[in-house]
């Protein structure tokens, strides 16, 4: 038997913008076991519900992550609206769906860039992020923010987006499709990319389900699991949503799921803009919360769980957020076992880890 060595990976590593640590147990250059370690920057944001009222907590929850901040704000609002017994206007649900899908386009383009950077394809990284800038410009024009938007509030939306602006958004996104296809084709067809991703980090359908994986990580393993199917949030049922699923279970399959989701999100935005009704975008909400409500959203990285519990005052007793990266870490540990040491950075990136979310 080869001699076993333990190589520490992280918490600082070129592919990691945020700290996570893995103890990699190696036999020669093969990983036989990986022990994850997080908690370097746990911020305790959930505990702020003791000193921030429920409306202020939306600002806090949005700041869990700078990539899927809109979704976090929406999830927090939806859980509070459920606890308050408030039904939001239909136009607000359409606007939330549109901005959430725009966030998915931005998040997946960001991830594609990071992945390209991870396997050393710098020009591809630059092109992914160049295109993403246009998406951020759309956010800025329609919400006023590029990272944190604060446009969602309990009861609906803080401001409306005009139909003209929505149509312009569709026009710009449709114009981006050709450019996105050009760069995503490189991910799918370039031999150097295929060498790094095809057949690497295979997670079977059974393993993905056993490890409770979520998002593109589980859909890349052939599992039709997407919280948008529940109809619990947004207008996905009205839009006729069907998730993107790939069967191979390797890094390439997870990449293809995300690429397909970029185009799907643009189509969903286009349909939503066609169907959006006129009307108000918010309703008044009670000033005290005295119920509880659990709801899930399909964030770009997968299922996120939000739970709000009131206590008859303006402060919540509990605001719980379980982010997708939390529950994809066990799947990552499984993928790493048997992998080459050189593939570890690619495998870490393949779950699209967000440590900011994990360390909420």
């Amino acid at each position: 038997m080869a001699k076993r060595t333990i190589v520490p990976f992280g918490p600082q590593h070129p592919v990691l913008p945020e700290p996570i640590h893995l103890d990699l147990v190696l036999e020669d250059e093969t990983v036989v076991e990986a022990i994850p370690s997080i908690g370097y920057i746990h911020r305790g944001l959930e505990k702020l519900c003791e000193i921030k009222d429920f409306e202020q907590m939306v600002y806090v929850v949005e700041r869990i992550c700078g990539i899927c901040s809109f979704g976090h704000g929406w999830g927090a609002c939806a859980s509070m609206e459920g606890a308050l017994g408030v039904e939001v206007p239909e136009r607000a649900e359409y606007l939330r769906t549109i901005l959430h899908e725009l966030g998915r386009v931005h998040s997946h383009l960001l991830w594609l860039g990071l992945m390209a950077d991870g396997f050393g394809f710098e020009s591809l990284f630059n092109h992914c992020w160049r295109i993403r800038e246009t998406v951020l410009d759309l956010f800025e024009k329609n919400t006023g923010g590029r990272v944190v938007f604060s446009i969602c509030k309990p009861g609906g939306m803080r401001k409306d987006i005009s139909n003209e602006n929505l149509q312009e958004m569709v026009r710009i996104l449709n114009g981006l499709k050709a450019e996105i296809k050009e760069i995503t084709d490189v991910f799918i067809e370039d031999s150097s990319v295929k060498n790094r991703m095809t057949g690497v980090g295979v997670l079977t359908k059974e393993e993905a389900m056993e490890l409770c994986a979520v998002g593109p990580t589980v859909r890349g393993s052939g599992v039709r699991q997407d919280i948008r199917l529940t109809g619990d949030h947004g207008v996905y049922k009205e839009l006729g949503f069907e998730p993107c699923v790939e069967e191979a279970g390797d890094c390439m399959a997870r990449t293809v799921v995300r690429i397909r989701e970029i185009f799907q999100s643009i189509e969903l935005i286009e349909k939503a803009v066609e169907m959006i009704p006129d009307g108000p975008v918010d309703v008044k909400v009670p000033k005290k919360v005295d119920g509880e409500f659990a709801i899930r959203l399909e964030q770009p990285r997968g299922e996120a769980f939000y739970y709000a519990k009131g206590q008859g005052t303006k402060f919540l007793k509990r605001m719980r957020v379980r982010t997708p990266t939390n529950i994809n870490i066990p799947a990552l540990v499984k993928m790493l076992a048997g992998a080459d040491l050189a593939d570890v950075p690619i495998l870490v990136l393949t779950i699209d880890p967000c440590i900011s979310c994990t360390e909420r």
Partner: protein
């Protein structure tokens, strides 16, 4: 819209029945969604175990006495539960027994020990 569609399926479970109930859910094909702690009062925590089957959420409520009750780990049934059990241990001070991956209080590097635990 959220209010109408998101079904709230909460069910109480006794500490002595936790493992058999969770085993039953696993056998029925449920996936573990999350576990979290809630401070009910100075003496009681509520642990919420959420599961999913066919996109329907089901949550078990377990009430435990702070500093008195210890909870059997469900990592033998759902291994990924170690993420949540270690988190609840470090933040709330709940003891989970027979965990398959116990970080023994080092999961989170936090300045204050068990910050969610009510101050006596």
């Amino acid at each position: 819209m959220d209010k109408i569609t998101a079904v709230q399926d909460f069910e109480y479970v006794e500490l002595s029945n936790l493992i058999s109930k969770v085993s039953d859910l696993k056998a029925e094909g449920y996936r573990l969604v999350q576990i979290c702690g809630v401070v009910l009062d100075d003496e009681t925590y509520e642990i919420l175990y959420s599961f999913d089957k066919d996109h329907q959420l089901k949550t078990l409520r377990l009430d435990i006495k702070i500093d008195v009750d210890e909870v059997e780990s469900i990592t033998g049934i759902y291994w990924p539960a170690f993420i949540y059990e270690n988190e609840i241990h470090d933040l709330f001070g709940v003891q989970f027994n027979h965990s398959q991956l116990d970080y023994q209080g080092t999961f989170f590097r936090i300045v204050e020990e068990t910050p969610w635990k009510p101050k006596k």
